[in-house]
Each structure stands twice: as C-alpha cells, then as structure tokens.
Amino acid sequence: MVEQQWLYIGVFLIIAPVFPMLALLVPRLIAPKKPNAIKLQTYECGMETVGDSWVQFKVQYYIYGLVFLVFDVEIVFLYPWAVALNILPLFAVVEGIIFIMILVGGLFYAWRKGVLEWY
C-alpha cells in the first residue's frame, strides 16, 4: 500500500513537467523568430551592459544562509518529536522544550553578535 502511494508521487513527478513542456512547445512551432543583435542585448535601462553580469553580492546573504542552516537541521530533529508528542511522557516533552530553548539561545547570540543586522 505504501509503495502504491509513492508510485503515485513518482508518476506525478514525471507527468507534471509534461504540461508546461507542451505549453512551451506550441510557441516554438507557431511564434515568429526574428532575432537581431540589438534585440538580443541584455536589458539594462536602455544602456549597454558594463562588465560581467554575475556581480559580487553582499556577504549578508551568506550569513543568513548559515543561520538558516542551524534551524533547518533543528527542524528535522523536531518533527519526530512533534508526531510522537501525544504518547511521550511529560519528561520527554520538557526535554524537547529545553532543546528548543538552547536554539533560541543560539538565535539570541547571533542577534547580539550583530549577524542579523543589514549593513
């Protein structure tokens, strides 16, 4: 029975991209195609693009990524706890709460360190 559920999802993952692919196939057949050098230029407010388009970006994006990683791993640990909460003893629930509190401590540490500021 479980295999059947996952088979359905597998088939869905194969069929779902077919619809947008079909929709993109039609313009390939009927739409006009008259490219020229000016039309194919990168848009930049009517100016010619200067330099590489893959520019350097703020390091802040990267730091947010690191903070996110901590929480993402935490959530993987918390979901089994959440599912089993009703059959767990009170002690285990409190233990889970202490685990969350340690993470909140981590968040506040990052906050005090100025990681969450946008310079």
Partner: protein
C-alpha cells in the same frame, strides 16, 4: 453515492476485465487521475488570472476585464493566445539549461503539490505519512525555479532578484515550518488526510489562530507576493528574476505564481480550516471538493487582499521582521502549544479548546507588547518648524515700496 469514485471503480473493472496485471491497472489509473487533476488545475490557473485581475480592479476602484465574453471571462484565454504567438526572445550570454528549465520547474512543482492534498474523503491522490514535509520540500523546489531563472538570465537585475528570493525563502521557511509543526502536534500525524480527519469536531484555526497567522504571513513571503515581493520589485529592479523572459515562458511564471497562491489556500484550508470537512460530507463525499474549493478561494482572496493593500517592505526590514519577530514568536508558540497539549491531554474538549486558544492569544499579546517596547525608541531629531510662507493675518502688512520712475 460518489460519482467520481464509481467511475473510477467502473474503469478499474474494465481494465481488470481486459486481463491486465494489478500493477498495470494501478499505473493506468494513476496516470489517468494525474492527467485529469493537472488539467483541472491548469484550467483553474487560467481562471485565477481572471479572478486576480477582477479583484485587483475592484480594490483599485476600476472595472477590470469586461469586454471579451460575459464579465470578461474569456479574457485570460485571449491572453494565452497572445502569449502563444509572441516571439520568445532569449538574450545573448544566457545559461541555456537553467534558463529553459526554470519556467517548467516553476509550474510543474506547483502542480505536484496537488498530489497529496485530499480533495474529498474518498478522493485522495496519495496519502503519504510525511505529507507536511513533502509540502515544504516541493514548495522550496518551486522557489528554486525562480532562483535558477534569475541566475541564468545574464542580467544584473535578475541576479539581484534571485538573491533576494534566496534570502526571503531561507528566512521565511523557518517560521513556516515551525508553524506547520503545530497541526502535526495536534493531529499527531504528518499525513495531510489524517490532519483533515482529526479536525472533524473543530477546525484548528479556532484553537491555534496564531499558528495559522504565522503560516499565512510566511507563505505570503514564500509566494513572493506583496508586501514581500522584493524579488520582482518593479520600482527597484524592474521585474526581478523574470526580466529577460517573454512569451509563454513568462506565462509559465505567471500561471505558476497564481496557481501557487491558490494551492497555498488549499494547503492552509487543509491544515487549519478542516479541508474537505463540512455539513453532509459523510453522506455525499463529492461535496468535499466543493468545500475545499470554497475555502481555498477564500484564503486566496485573503492573500490578494493583503497583497493589494500593503506597500512593499524594504529588504532589511523584511529580514528583521522575520528573524527578530516571527522566528522567536513561532518558537515560543511551539513550546507553549507542546506543553499545553501535554498538560490538557486528558481534559474535557472545551477545557482543551479554551486553554489552547488562551495560550495562543497570550503568546501573541506578549509578543506584541515586547516588540512595542523594543521599537519605542524616542525620536530625537524632529525637523525644525518650517518657516511659514505667508505672515499670519494679524501681522502688519509691509507695503511694497514703489520703485518709482515710470
């Protein structure tokens, strides 16, 4: 009693009658079901274009599309014909593979989300026991499509849009996933159908309204809709990630975004509003589809309401709002709900409901109180009073001296 189920059973009988193996019968039934579901969803996506344009028109005191067909109902189909015959301009220097995959990914993942949403008690695509994680994972892949688009376009604006999209997604994913954990705690299952079934006596929005609100706000950000639409902020980075897309490829992003909003409505109503449950649904299961549709449409309307009412946030404000307010709030709510759920486990239903509601309201109230105290810093620099252009009435009017001469 259930017409759709009886058609499916009849079809299964026909296939078995042909002497096919059980797995082949299963596969064919799955394929037919999926093709039907995807077609219906795409028609809904097209119809969502009309709904969206009509609603935004009413919000802005306009009429909206009203020329083609009754109430402009045929307008989106005319738009599709226009998009189909537009030239597909792919600029120089693009990264070809991600550029072409991105629009397909943006729509296909949203369609895939419907694999696990139970439409009615008898019609569920797939009742997997990790449904909530599936929603989070597939939703993130849909955002990945937008990031790929921004990266591949060889355009600085598009890259900035993609980076903003990354920051938004990884930030707002945290409160969203934590808010999703709360229905999981209440239903003690991650399967969407189990969560819907356990809301038969009361919908979860009545006992955990704060979790529902956090989920709505963070999925609004995940959708990239105003006030969080920084990835395509047209006044700052022109059109963001889809700046270099034209024709049907742009249409894929557009349809994907609208259908994603509707899908978030369906997920929200399955998790917090009771999904397909409603009066008479146990006798006439087909009614479940109708109830789910109405509830999803209502949430879709709420999302549009927020979108067209609030102005856009600045990126640092948006990330601060998430990391300094929404994430601590959702963690606190998770702790309170877990503890209350354990303590009130054996209490009467009404004690349980009222206790949960009180806990939610208390957490929200304390959070607002704390944040108000935090942001109440005195404004030191007031601008000085501007000089009045004209002297007050009582002041004597100095006559303009006559320059003399002629």
């Amino acid at each position: 009693m259930d017409p759709l189920l009886s058609i499916a059973n009849w079809f299964e009988g026909v296939l078995v009658g042909w002497g096919l193996a059980p797995w082949a019968v299963n596969l064919i039934l799955s394929v037919v079901g999926i093709v039907l579901l995807c077609t219906v969803m795409l028609v809904i996506a097209i119809w969502c274009v009309w709904v969206e344009r009509k609603v935004v028109a009413r919000f802005q005191d306009r009429l909206g599309p009203n020329r083609i067909g009754p109430f402009g109902l045929i307008q989106p189909f005319a738009d599709i014909i226009k998009l189909l015959i537009k030239e597909d301009i792919a600029p120089k220097g693009i990264d070809k593979v991600p550029y072409n995959i991105a629009p397909i990914l943006a729509l296909a993942t949203v369609l895939t989300l419907w694999a696990i949403i139970p439409l009615s008690p008898s019609i569920l695509g797939s009742d997997i026991n990790v449904g909530v994680l599936f929603i989070v994972g597939i939703g993130a892949i849909s955002t990945l499509g937008l990031i790929m688009a921004g990266w591949a376009c060889n355009n600085k604006y598009a890259l900035l849009g993609a980076l903003r999209e990354v920051a938004t997604m990884i930030s707002y994913e945290v409160p969203m996933v934590i808010a999703l954990m709360i229905p999981v705690i209440l239903a003690s299952s991650m399967g969407i159908n189990k969560i819907v079934e356990s809301q038969s006596s009361y919908a979860y929005i009545f006992i955990v309204p704060l979790a529902a609100l956090i989920f709505l706000v963070s999925s609004q950000a995940e959708l990239g809709r105003a006030p969080f639409d920084l990835s395509e902020a047209e006044s700052e980075i022109v059109a963001g990630f889809h700046i270099e897309y034209s024709g049907m490829k742009f249409g894929m992003f557009y349809a994907g975004e609208l259908l994603h909003a509707f899908t978030v409505g369906a997920i929200f109503s399955s998790l917090f509003l009771g999904g397909w449950s409603g009066p008479f649904v146990d006798r006439v299961p087909v009614l479940g589809i109708f109830y789910l549709f109405i509830k999803s449409l209502f949430i879709y309307w709420v999302i549009m309401w927020i979108k067209y009412t609030l102005p856009r946030l600045r990126i640092d404000h948006m990330l601060s709002f998430n990391w300094k307010f929404l994430t601590p709030l959702s963690l606190a709510l998770l702790m309170v709900v877990a503890l209350l759920n354990k303590l009130l486990q054996n209490a009467d239903t009404w004690v349980y409901v009222l206790g949960m509601l009180a806990g939610n309201i208390l957490v929200g109230w304390v959070a607002i109180l704390l944040s108000r105290r935090q942001v109440k810093t005195p404004r030191k620099e007031f601008a000085a009073d501007r000089p009045v252009a004209r002297p007050p009435e009582s002041a004597p009017v100095t006559p303009i001296p006559d320059p003399g001469g002629d």
